[in-house]
Symmetry: C2
Subunit: 237 residues, 2 copies
């Protein structure tokens, strides 16, 4: 069975990506990062998703202790959605995060003979992270082919971003068909007992579910947070 | 004073690179990796070099626990020089190592507003690591420009490899003029009390010093290992 390394963050994009990789017939090895983010909720969510998918996972502990992001360390203010300039890269950008994650995934994949690395990046519907763009991924693929033994030996590792052209609603619709356990995922930038409902990530998740026609188990509309006990169910409109 | 992040391994190439970066007027922040290598000697050597150069340093602990290299973990056999095929990538290749190191350096540089990242990679005189080649570095630069906020905002971080076109003797000659403390560096792949004298890295170091006309404080010729007490001094021929 061909192997793939899947970057798993705990959010809904990477969970969907995992199920797509499985559907494509890959034995998936999930890679989760403990990189000094504000809270452990997303790490725990990622573990739960991997377990639910019956996939092995490993948590890599790395410290991006130099900061440079509202997501690193406590005490920084997470902006409410659209309260930062939409033409600028948001303060939740983490310097070179996807570059680091993909580099580790590449190393892991090469060491275990995996054929592919999956990443849940998508350019649409998100708030301007340069390391989620198709042109970045294209450049990363070229760099990886030149800088690794597998690339030089012409059996390079494919970097697959199956969501790259989807918006959030499209991702959710695709994931629902695959049985992605969205009720286990965590999107909120804050680490509260319930999603804050006002950060960018909550905003896009709520909008994605609304547009998809499905109901989120974690309702993130401001002030109306609730968690259903069961799986995500279609929204009655 | 403009800042640079310098990748420091404890070997002579990166030590020379640090002194070149200093000479170019950079305030140098050294980045050292504890990545699961066979021994800590090179980490200690890197710290000593940074201190000698009066530069700050930080040691990043990352675990490349998936192996895939003779340099990762104990118990693997380090080949004697030229005992592996010269047309193949050697077993001391570590999957995606320089890609990971450069990614961290990029993140660090971006977070602290550094203008450059220095790496001691050089293609000549070495044993076929794909992630030391000029074409790899060129591709990394392009990827970094597309995948970081600083790149998108047109004040991207320069990836500088000042040794890329030098051979080992040329590196040593350049370093001697800059006062690089080669007696503090460690090149041997093994972690013995003295360099083994028979691995690739010992071989190239010994050849480099021989060709440069300088004497190495760590003499690595097989069986004739000795350490002079003082600084490296010119070889009387």
């Amino acid at each position: 069975m061909k192997r793939a390394v899947v970057l798993l963050s705990g959010g809904l994009d990477s969970a969907t990506t995992l199920y797509i990789a499985k559907k494509q017939g890959f034995e998936c090895l999930c890679l989760i990062f403990d990189y000094g983010q504000r809270h452990k909720k997303e790490i725990n969510a990622a573990k739960k998703v991997a377990k639910q998918a019956s996939c092995s996972y490993r948590v890599e502990k790395i410290k991006l202790a130099w900061g440079g992001s509202a997501l690193l360390g406590r005490g920084k203010v997470i902006p409410r959605y659209h309260k930062h300039s939409l033409n600028k890269i948001p303060p939740t950008y983490v310097p070179a995060r996807n570059i680091i994650f993909l580099s580790f995934a590449l190393s892991f994949a090469e060491a275990v003979g995996a054929k592919a690395v999956f990443i849940g990046a998508h350019a649409q519907d998100y708030s301007g992270y340069p390391d989620c763009r198709p042109q970045f991924l294209k450049a990363f693929r070229k760099m990886a082919a030149l800088g690794t033994a597998s690339g030089v030996n012409k059996h390079g590792i494919r970097i697959i971003a199956p969501l790259i052209n989807k918006n959030k609603a499209g991702i959710i619709r695709a994931g629902m068909k695959l049985g992605v356990p969205y009720h286990l995922t965590w999107s909120c930038y804050e680490g509260g007992s319930k999603p804050c409902g006002v950060c960018d990530s909550c905003y896009y998740r709520a909008k994605g579910f609304r547009d998809s026609g499905y109901r989120d188990a974690f309702q993130t509309n401001r002030g109306t947070l609730s968690k259903s006990k069961g799986r995500v169910s279609p929204l009655k409109r």
